[in-house]
Amino acid sequence: MSVSVATTRTAPRPRVNAQLDIAKPRLAIYMHDLSGGGIERQSLVIAQELRRRGGDVTLVLHRLRGPLRDQLPAGLRVVDLESRRTWDDVPRLAAFLRRDRPDILVANFDLNNIAALLAKAISLSPTKVVICQHNPLSRSFYATERRLLRYVGLGYRALAPFVSMAVGVSPGLADELHRLGGLPRERTVTISNPVIGPDFARSAAAPIEHPWLNDPTRPLFVTAGRLVAQKDQATLLRALALHLNHRDMRSRLLILGEGPLEAELKALSKSLGLDQSVDFLGFRPDAPAWFSHADAFILCSRSEGFGNVIVEALGCGTPVIASDCTYGPRDILEGGRFGLLFPPGDPVALARAMDEVRSLHTRFPAETLCQRASAFTYDACAARYVEVFQALTPKRAWTAPA
């Protein structure tokens, strides 16, 4: 792999062929690191898609670390700020902006967005900053996360003049950027996460083995996500117990994911008498293949910024039952048109939704669900980003995807 990694101490990139290069859009994507989370994964996808459209993309990282290092696209220029704390990024990022002068800096994640705006402020660079909001700014989210996140909205308000465009990954988040972040409506836009890639169909059809698959007499539910409080798998287990009491369906549940609550959830499953109905499978990279075999996919989160797994389940043509948390699932499922919604943390309502499992495939035909998922393809998402970038830098020329 030919990944060129630069640090802030490396020499500036020589300006060669400046006249020929003048119309090529130059972008920098700034994010925390390359840990295996959804935001990092999507940023890499977007970087690659923008390169395919003629963008000269540089990836700027708070730290070059994480399992996604192996998935860095070949030829992608990477700048490692080598910072210890996010605030340390500010002067280093400012130096990068002064030196490299990209047309656009795309920042991801709450605190990194603030750091990017501060860097823009002190660098006096002409670079336009686009911030991407993946998590809610409202109390409903930061109640379960770091206390510092509650000041992100305030930070956006203070630094609003430096925001050229703010991207919310769902309409609700875009609205929050306006209401809580104080950004003008015309400078907020909704661009959904890229979830469905060109190899999605292949990964959904990948062979998997489990004794519970392909048993039409027993409905099979699947859920996926880190085993943490935010994902609230405990409510799902309680709902399954109620569902098994309601109906003589003998449904079963597969849980994909790992996390600190694994032991606790296994104990809860045992105490509810679900030993024979629940299987903890741990982290599975081939999650879509598991979704394809399910009668329904369930997401039980207390809060979500988007909900990539919902899109993946839709892409497999699998009906979705999701918690109606403030953003994400409601937007993806369009208020219940493409899946069932239930109030977060309500096992009774979830059990009632699970009771419908037999009719979900006729109510939500696979063809309809796949069509909905097609709104979240890499291509559709990158096209939206290019639209935004073109409006910000009209003199730069993008090309059709290579």
Binding site: P171, E186, T190, G336, R337, R358, Q371, R372
Partner: protein, 464 residues
């Protein structure tokens, strides 16, 4: 119907629609002329002013080149149209209204129905009567061979064949309606095509008989008759005409309603000792609520909608109010649901605040009794996307008041492709012991069609 005059300033849509600048429409919202919502071809979001746009579910404007041709006569034989409102500078739309219409029929008919529906969306929005986004998913993208090929095939099928309908029953409790195995063992009563067929079965509570429409296979008009299952002790088997008796379904001695007009869909509803019946009538204002006596005499007690032509009026009760669900034939033959309500069956019957409450060819036109099952109000409706009475959509009514209505599709009953009636299912009712349905089969009938054409030609009329 109150048509509004839209102040038209702008160009003309390619579809023949007036493309108005909607000046003065929302005085509470608009402050100056730049804030007025605009509806003009060629404008696309983001726009400096509020933009109303008629588009398909995928966001393409309906006047986009070749768009309608891609949908016409192709699977899923339905297209979702919406009126979207884009706030200034935004590319995220609020859906003001959404409808799903059929794409079969001639090309000109299809374009006309798109035009008509587009005008309705705008008119309802101007009058504040928009329905908002549909509770059901939009129709999927078109697929399959070209529409011309499918149109040609269907045209010839219609020239050479006719429909044969018959009644069937399934012994199951009402709760089985939500089971996917409901229609596995239907007992069909007249599988062989004859001169007259039966359809639209509704029970006559307390008598063991079924009221239904009796219709000549070709031409003619329908009338309401009563039938009894053969073997039932009330069956007057000595009165059975030979062509119906082999069906195990015996007709009563006299028709229930035969007054020279076309009648069908004799919807019944029992309230205590009283049985009400609201049959469909072909003429404008002909829909009447009757009391049905045990000896099958109909006594009209109320006029429902004197100025409308209503199809498949379905009487039911919900939260101390009487309701009639129906399809307004002036809006469309198969794609809309309208509601009327009254404090008693005697009326007066008032229209729902939204008229119609729903436009969706996949599940609007009523298809049998509205029933309460386990606290859920279930409304069968016809899925006419693939053709008249092609399947039955089961809708759960989530919200029903004089001003609001919302229902979601919870299931679909499709005809058994290997059964004797593989081409349609049209009505679903329950008589306390069993479900009743009617099924459709397409039968080759060249002689009948020719005979019909000759007889019309002799009378100097055209067939419609």
């Amino acid at each position: 119907m109150n048509d509004v005059m839209l102040p038209v300033e702008a160009a003309v849509w390619p579809l023949g629609l007036a493309a108005p600048v909607l000046s003065g429409i929302r005085p509470d919202v608009v402050a100056d002329r730049n804030d007025m919502p605009r509806l003009e071809p060629g404008l696309a979001p983001p726009c400096a002013v509020p933009l109303w746009r008629l588009e398909c579910a995928d966001g393409q404007p309906i006047d986009a080149r070749g768009l309608l041709a891609r949908y016409w006569h192709r699977r899923p034989y339905a297209v979702t149209l919406r009126l979207a409102c884009y706030p200034p500078t935004s590319t995220v739309a609020e859906i003001l209204d959404e409808v799903t219409i059929g794409t079969t029929g001639s090309w000109n008919d299809f374009r006309a129905s798109v035009d008509r529906m587009a005008m309705r969306l705008v008119k309802d929005a101007v009058q504040g009567g928009s329905r908002g986004p549909s509770a059901d998913a939009p129709a999927v993208a078109p697929s399959g061979p070209t529409g011309w090929l499918q149109r040609w095939r269907r045209t010839w099928r219609d020239r050479l064949t006719s429909e044969w309908w018959s009644l069937g029953s399934v012994d199951a409790p009402p709760e089985a309606m939500l089971s996917d195995a409901l229609l596995r063992d239907i007992r069909w009563y007249a599988p062989q095509a004859g001169e007259r067929y039966l359809a639209d079965p509704f029970p006559h509570p307390g008598t063991g008989t079924i009221l239904c429409e009796e219709m000549p296979r070709i031409g003619g008009i329908g009338r309401i008759v009563a039938v009894t299952r053969a073997g039932d002790r009330r069956c007057p088997s000595d009165l059975c005409p030979s062509d119906l008796c082999p069906s195990d379904l015996c007709p009563s001695d006299l028709p229930v309603l035969d007054d020279g007009l076309h009648h069908s869909y004799p919807c019944t509803f029992a309230a205590g000792e009283t049985v009400y019946c609201v049959p469909e009538t072909s003429i404008r204002g002909g829909t009447l609520v009757h009391i049905l006596s045990p000896d099958r005499r109909l006594t009209p007690i109320a006029e429902v909608a004197p100025d409308a032509r209503l199809a498949d009026p379905t009487l039911f009760r919900y939260q101390d109010k009487w309701w009639i669900a129906c399809t307004d034939l002036d809006i469309g033959p198969h794609d809309n649901l309208c509601l009327l309500h009254a404090l008693s069956p005697e009326g007066p019957w008032r229209r729902h605040d939204k008229w119609p409450v729903k436009i969706d060819v996949r599940g609007s036109r009523p298809a049998g009794s509205v029933v309460m099952i386990g606290g859920r109000l279930i409304r069968p409706a016809q899925d006419c996307a693939e053709g008249y009475g092609a399947a039955i959509a089961l809708n759960e009514v989530m919200c029903l008041t004089e001003t609001t209505f919302r229902e979601v599709r919870i299931g679909t009953l499709r005809p058994d492709p290997n059964g004797p009636f593989p081409n349609g299912l049209h009505t679903l009712t329950h008589d306390g012991e069993r479900f009743w349905v009617d099924g459709k089969r397409i039968v080759f009938d060249l002689a009948g069609k020719l005979d019909r054409k000759l007889s019309l030609a002799r009378r100097g009329r055209k067939e419609h």
